[in-house]
Subunit: 307 residues, 2 copies
């Protein structure tokens, strides 16, 4: 039997709560200078834990676990890599929300990191989450049975989260605010800002499981299509969604002149494109047979967010 989304997600939430270096002092005291050598000092620890542990979908870590599970049963063993994806996602949100960036006050229904901890600590908390992602994966890889697979997984994640991936998309997202939209750019931004960090966990999970080139190609096609559908749906929700349900302000894209898919192609075509990408994603993984049902259902369910 395939696990449900909830099975993976609660394992991720539990593991996030258990990250040793982020555990709070039991007495709630702020101890600026750590006693133990590897402890994380306050207020850095509190700021990192705050954003990482706000309730979220945990989509990216779930995708890594599920992709690994397509080929191997011991999916709990790759949890450190799954957590790293959530840390990278969270760091990107913390930095994106900064006053100099999107200047958001609300994220996942709560005040943004800089609202709580100040701008300087929010910058360092973002840096810290990215760093902890790499530390967590590398520490797990020290004892890897297949070190080359671990390196391939980490390289995939670092590259797609990096300067030709997620950070590239974020750059154009902020640099081109308010400029005349064009189709090349509107395709580039979500492909990198979003789809690269949806594709990374799929491919990392497959690398860790020792996938073939054909399996990796199928995973990439699935991830890219799902990622684009996800961003288009997100942009549609910014227009049509309920801020209370979403836990963040809506209508911000239009206000900031963001170059989104619906802004360029209109809502109707955006809806149709999202549907098309969802179909593409579902098709891409048919070669995995029965095992692919989880990923196909996940893609199908994304459709319901817009309706």
């Amino acid at each position: 039997m395939n696990p449900t989304y909830e099975t993976y997600k609660s394992a991720v939430d539990q593991a996030l709560a258990d990250i040793a270096v982020l555990l709070s002092d039991t007495d709630g005291r702020l101890t600026p200078v750590p006693v133990a050598n590897r402890e994380v000092p306050q207020p850095l620890r509190a700021a990192m834990a705050y954003s990482l542990r706000l309730p979220g979908k945990r989509l990216r870590p779930v995708l890594l676990l599920a992709a690994y599970h397509l080929l191997k049963d011991d999916w709990v063993s790759v949890m450190p890599y799954a957590l790293a994806l959530e840390m990278i996602h969270t760091y990107s949100l913390v930095h994106d929300d900064l006053p100099a960036m999107d200047n958001d006050d609300l994220r996942r229904g709560k005040p943004t990191n800089h609202q709580v901890f100040g701008e300087n600590i929010a910058i360092l908390a973002g840096d810290g989450l990215y760093s902890l992602a790499m530390e967590t994966m590398l520490k797990a890889s020290l004892m890897a049975k297949y070190p080359q697979r671990a390196i391939a997984a980490m390289e995939e994640i670092a590259r797609r989260a990096g300067v030709s991936g997620m950070i590239a998309g974020q750059t154009l997202d902020v640099a081109l605010e308010g400029t005349e939209p064009d189709e090349a750019t509107v395709a580039y931004i979500p492909r990198h800002k979003t789809a690269d960090l949806i594709t990374a966990p799929i491919l990392a999970g497959l690398h860790l499981a020792g996938a073939t080139q054909a399996q990796l190609a199928a995973g990439e096609a699935y991830g890219q299509a799902l990622g684009l559908a996800f961003q288009i749906v997100d942009d549609l929700l910014d227009i049509r969604g309920d801020a209370a349900l979403l836990g963040k302000k809506t209508g911000k894209d239009a206000q900031m002149g963001k170059m989104t898919w619906p802004a360029v192609f209109g809502e109707e075509k955006a809806c149709a494109d999202a549907e098309r990408y969802i179909d593409t994603a579902q098709q891409a993984v048919t070669a995995f047979g029965e095992k692919a049902v989880f990923l196909q259902t996940l893609a199908r369910d994304m459709r319901n967010r817009v309706k």
Copy 2:
């Protein structure tokens, strides 16, 4: 014959100039949407290249090459890991200089990154340099003959640059500005903010060369002592140095109420402590024999900066 500092440094400078993803368009045109898949978009690419290529001592990459060279001759082969250290160092400077952090206008004699590219791009350029460091090392490690050594080197770097290392030190550096100095904190800040990123390249170089535990321990003792001496000398230069020669403002620590070694212990004791750490560093590496002369000379030369 041992290479000179200049031999290693010019190899590093050449490699920095050759980083493919940061090469400028020949016509100087800003092409926001990259054509090739792995290209870095503007203005991110220009912002990263700007800070990375400002003239610097290249101390951290040189230390990695020299530490590897203690045990192996083909030091050019570990250049990707050396470059990663300079990228991490540069990212930390770009973020440190931000208005919400130390709010510096001048770095290495030139306007700081956010002065040239704006605060949002400077945040992303910092993120990008950190990411490119990991991407560069992981890409090199894909083909590593000894993948476990590569993983150990990267883990050492990520941990010491991370939330119990450099970022921990930076956090207390900004969080405790203007508070009453105490000895525990004044020892913690330079040990992590500075010494960890001086120790990381030494240990990474040794890991890559397949060093023994005893050799690693000697390298750690050298790195910690050199790093502390380096930071104390830096703090003394902020009091006594020439801003024009240093390429950055002086007198800033006192003005911002930074908890520095001279601020807590006085200039005289700070000077004596720096001397003592330099001696410790020189002693630590005697077991490497003739080969250690380069690292010992480097430590000795640091003494001359204060006089």
